[in-house]
Amino acid sequence: MPNKICKLLIVFCCALGVTHAVLAQGVPPPAIAKQVEIDLINESIKGKIPFDAPFEFIGTPPKTVDVLKIRKVQLDSSTGTVLAVEEATWARQYDKSNGGAEGEDAKAEKFRLFLLFKQGQGYPTPNHRYLFYIDGYACTWQGQSKVASYSLVGTTESGLSDHIKLDFGLGYAFKPRAVVGLTTVHFYFSPINEDTDLNDEHLSFSRHFLLRTSLFAGLSPVVFSEHTEQEIKRKFALGSFVYGVGLRSPFYSPWFRTGRFGRVFFQPMRVNVGVLNFKQANQNVSIAGDVNKRALFMSITYDFNIASILGPLGKLVQ
């Protein structure tokens, strides 16, 4: 009986954790692009360029420039592949209360250049160097005249941690007809940017594949129900070993519309197929040892965002 109470408590805590993790992500934001600060005068980019996500450049425009336009974005070098970018333009806004005249306040305005990548052409991908060509124009009575050209170099760096994601959830092992709780580590072959919206049509099919498919390994510490003659036992002290293949956000993609809350509920979800390694007492009662067993299982897991589950304490962890 206490064992059942423990299991129920674990289920309750898991459900609470999932709910908290999901709610902590809040209402899906409108496509707010990450801001990357650039210095046009020194032709430098402060920080890294985000990959697989929209972003915008911000900075202080040179005084002589009234309009900024991104001419092109090129991969790796001046001869590299040109990323398709729709015209991204910023124009200085003058204070109309001042009769449209230029004032010091207007000159201090910051520019924002939102990079519009064309659908299906893809965003910058991880671990590449990109060249951004920006032209500056001055407004005259005759129209715009080009007064400056800037070329900036930015990189989309990623680390090992971007390849690894934690999650937890419930699985069903087919042959023992057992429901198990599990926590797993997923290894992606491509870095994952948390800001990437997997519903984004800008991502190419191959990026979708790489951003969604993972190999995982982990532990199944609890068995909630089983239909076996011999009890399922943990392989190790902490749980049974599991491994397999995961598919991230299967119900959230440009091809599978899920509505407004799709990103909140379906993007952190994974559907996995794998192997549960456990032990069972030998079917021959004369033999005392346990026998190693394997069973195929399917699971649904959610991203394990430790910071959101810990609530206020999570901020300290971060």
Partner: protein, 131 residues
């Protein structure tokens, strides 16, 4: 493209390494695979208190140390009716371990019930004590 091929290979490897094992089910185990008692000598003993036969108990090799207790409804065990099967250096033969004991008749006539018992199982055999 290379990454996709590598990933596809890894997925195939997981698939190959995966698969199921049959589950353990005590109902599938034949009783003689747990404990077998057999009379390897004569099945009929003269009820004169002198005639003897050999009883053999068998357990799986993986059973490890097992205490086997032999009992009889008549006659006696001239040596010992309790055998710790691991004590026999030659107890492993093939996939099994064996324990032997000697049964000596007495003057009782008729069917005699013999039992071999381990903590997990018990088996019965009969021999006949004849005049």
């Amino acid at each position: 493209m290379k990454r996709i091929i590598f990933l596809a290979s890894a997925l195939a490897a997981v698939w190959v390494l995966g698969g199921c094992s049959p589950l353990e089910d005590p109902a599938l185990v034949a009783p003689e695979e747990i404990l077998l008692l057999s009379v390897t000598g004569k099945k009929q003993l003269v009820a004169n208190g002198q005639d003897k036969t050999v009883l053999l108990a068998r357990v799986p090799k993986e059973a490890g140390q097992v205490i086997i207790t032999f009992t009889t409804s008549a006659g006696s065990f001239p040596f010992n009716n309790t055998k710790i099967i691991k004590q026999f250096a030659d107890s492993i033969q093939g996939d099994y371990r064996y324990a032997r004991t000697l049964l000596r008749s007495d003057t009782t006539k008729g069917t005699v019930y013999l039992t071999a018992e381990t903590p997990q199982a018990s088996r019965r055999q009969t021999v006949l004590f004849i005049p």
